[in-house]
């Protein structure tokens, strides 16, 4: 029974991890940028949802489209105005600049909203139901359902639309994409915007489950790394698979080994995967 409960917990949270990491995988796959500011984008999503809930009473799930649009705009601007300027720079420079952007975002958030703990807590936040000895909080189920919907929508976008095709073309072969007239700068900006939008959605839901602070994103960037690498940096399905794997790994480790071990295990897993199979579970070969 405990095993089943842990399994369910792991899957429900794993879905959220997956959505969190899709954006990072996307940005890496297309732009070859490792986005250290990813967590800050998640944090912004959480705050936006919190404020729309607190000030105007908007339900966190219903206000998702707004959060997504706002974060898309933020991501688009960041890429257009800053990151497009250093896309061809050496790796350590792109890492550094995304770190700088993270620091700026976090500190602006601190100044604007202070470090006080917040939480988006609608009335139904503790409601739960029991089935067969398992207790499942409604919010976790809805979060999982939302992540499924978002994943499907996103995959449809990438596979079935012109924009999606353009993005994938740019990812695969930059020069050819340019030659066929794809406005690469624009595509880059849209891609980053999409990644940010997904991160924002993840943040919106995170803020319903857990407390919100400006430094909420730091640990989540690392988690997103683990998930994205596990599944294969650059593959979207990989992020989802990776998310579920991490969710389950954390749940089982916390329950059966000890609550202080999940992080050690997940980072250890990260290093191990990189050494053994850097392209992750679903990735294509290009690691060494």
């Amino acid at each position: 029974m405990l095993v089943l409960q842990v399994l369910v917990n792991g899957i429900l949270l794993g879905g959220l991890y997956g959505i969190m990491a899709i954006g990072m995988s996307l940005i890496y796959g297309v732009l070859r940028i490792v986005n250290i500011a990813h967590g800050a984008l998640i944090m912004l999503g959480a705050y936006i949802t919190f404020w729309t809930f607190t000030l105007w009473g908007w339900d966190p799930f219903l206000s998702l489209p707004v959060t997504i649009l706002l974060l898309f705009a933020v991501g688009y601007l960041v890429q257009r105005c800053i990151l497009n300027l250093i896309v061809r720079a050496a790796l350590y420079l792109t890492l550094l600049i995304t770190f700088g952007i993270e620091v700026v975002m976090v500190n602006l958030a601190r100044i604007a909203w202070t470090s006080d703990l917040r939480q988006t807590a609608p009335a139904y936040v503790a409601a739960n139901f029991s089935v067969g000895g398992l207790t499942i909080p409604y919010v976790r189920l809805w979060v999982f359902a939302t992540t499924v919907v978002l994943s499907v929508l996103f995959l449809l976008l990438m596979e079935r639309t012109r924009l999606g095709r353009a993005i994938r073309a740019t990812a695969q072969e930059l020069r050819a994409a340019r030659l066929t007239g794809i406005p690469v700068g624009q595509i880059f900006a849209v891609t980053f915007g999409l990644g940010a939008a997904l991160a924002g959605a993840a943040g919106a839901m995170w803020g319903v489950l857990f407390p919100i602070t400006p430094i909420l994103g730091r640990a989540l960037t690392l988690k997103s790394f683990v998930v994205a690498v596990l599944g294969g940096l650059g593959t979207m399905m990989g992020a989802i698979v990776g998310g579920l794997v991490l969710g389950l790994a954390e749940a089982f480790t916390a329950t059966f080994i000890g609550p202080t071990y999940p992080n050690a295990i997940s980072f250890g897993l990260l290093v191990l995967i990189l050494i053994v199979r850097p392209t992750g579970v679903l990735g294509r070969g290009e690691g060494r």
Binding site: M1, N9, L117, Q119, P211
Partner: protein, 406 residues
């Protein structure tokens, strides 16, 4: 061209050097400066604010009442404050700066044992007294330091009253789950609690540690639920306890009694949780209703009222402890009639005085000897249940299940 950039570089270096030189300050002559680095941002920001406000209100009150008299002269107290961002490493550097650069007279403490342990090492190294009210772990005081004093009772004893009470209730508690954070204070509480559980023959069905930064308690709760303990004891700081209670509600975990080391006596905690805070037990060495008092603040009630008026929230034991620290300096400096760190240190060590925080008397280790009150949240209010080995009110026990509450 060559010269221009050389000059440019030289002037940059000079500018930086000038800024640095300017960074060496000297204290004003007629003041006694108390220095502290407190968590105003970061994990402990909530609790840190209590200390900042407490220090401020007490210093102002002392100054209004004539200041501190040394050698016939009246000195005003001043506060030099830094933000340690809940980072022990930064705290050490800031305390070093307070001592070497700002040259403050004496030191007040940070919040949390984890930060107090290293910060106090700086004070001891420089032989300057530090009176702190934010660190309760015995580990702060078992290093043989002479200059460190603490006004929070020993962490190891925090949950003793709760365990004592648990076996006296009807039906008595038989099984307990112990959960504590991987941090100095909470590990100390955990160590002590194991002992009390053994003494009172309560079966420990769960004994685990969690990372301080943990947000997600679902796995922990799943295991605890499967063991179905009568009593849950949690040692953590405010944020962790808050999360735990919320998620326990969502996971439908229903112990008969649960106790948290930080949170329940604090208004902020109760307000944030709302109804979920009902029936929660907590511990505090101080309540506004207590009939205690001394100089400057004639009673706990008077202190609480003044504090609420000025800062807009209710004082709790953190606030009272911080205020007491400043009061202790006034009494000790006047007793020693000197500003010499060693003489003041000796005066603090031999102090025995009544204050609005209670009786201040330090054990040889430097930690205060003070009892705690077990409280329960009833109708949103803090109700003392068990003081000095006796029941003073009836607790609501067993706690009604979540599904039966409204």
């Amino acid at each position: 061209m060559k010269r221009r950039s050389c000059w440019w570089l030289a002037s940059m270096v000079l500018a930086v050097a000038a800024i640095l030189a300017g960074g060496i300050a000297a204290g004003a002559a007629e003041e006694i400066v108390l220095g502290a680095a407190v968590s105003q941002t970061g994990n402990y920001a909530r609790e840190g604010k209590f200390y900042v406000d407490a220090y401020q209100i007490t210093i102002d009150a002392i100054n209004r009442a004539g200041g501190v008299k040394v050698g016939g002269k009246a000195y005003k107290l001043a506060l030099k404050l830094y933000d340690d961002q809940s980072d022990p490493n930064l705290s050490v550097r800031l305390y070093t700066r307070l001592v070497t650069s700002d040259r403050v007279n004496f030191l007040l403490g940070p919040y949390s044992s984890g930060i107090t342990i290293p910060a106090s090492a700086v004070a001891e190294k420089n032989e300057i007294p530090m009176v702190q009210g934010g660190g309760a772990s015995g580990k702060i005081f078992d290093r043989g330091y002479k200059y460190i004093f603490g006004t929070l009772p020993k962490a190891e004893f925090y949950l003793q009253a709760a365990v004592e009470v648990a076996v006296k209730l009807n039906p008595p508690v038989k099984t307990a789950a112990l959960l504590y954070s991987n941090e100095a204070f909470d590990r100390s509480v955990g160590e002590g609690t194991r002992q009390w559980l053994k003494e009172h023959k309560i079966e420990k069905v769960y004994d685990e540690e969690y990372q301080p930064a943990t947000q997600d308690f679902t796995s922990i709760l799943a295991v605890i639920k499967s063991k179905n303990p009568d009593l849950i004891l949690m040692a953590g700081h405010e944020q962790g306890c808050l999360n735990f209670i919320r998620q326990a509600q969502a996971a439908d975990v229903n112990p008969k009694m649960w106790v948290f080391t930080v949170g329940p006596p604090t208004a902020d905690f109760r307000k944030t949780l709302g109804k979920a805070a009902e029936h929660v037990y907590g511990i505090t060495p101080w309540l506004e209703e207590m009939e205690i008092g001394g100089e400057i603040f004639r009673s706990a009630g008077e202190f609480g009222k003044q504090f609420h008026e000025r800062f807009g929230y209710e004082a709790d034991y953190h606030v009272a402890s911080g205020a007491a620290d400043v009061l202790i300096y006034k009494f000790a400096i006047e007793k020693a009639n000197s500003l010499d760190p060693k003489k003041v240190r000796d005066a603090i060590a031999s102090l025995d005085v009544e204050t609005m925080y209670g009786r201040v008397k330090f054990e040889p280790t430097g930690q205060i000897a003070m009892g705690q009150v077990l409280i329960q949240v009833q109708d949103g209010k803090v109700v003392p249940i068990y003081v000095g080995g006796k029941f003073v009110a009836k607790p609501v026990y067993p706690m009604p299940k979540w599904s039966q509450r409204k």
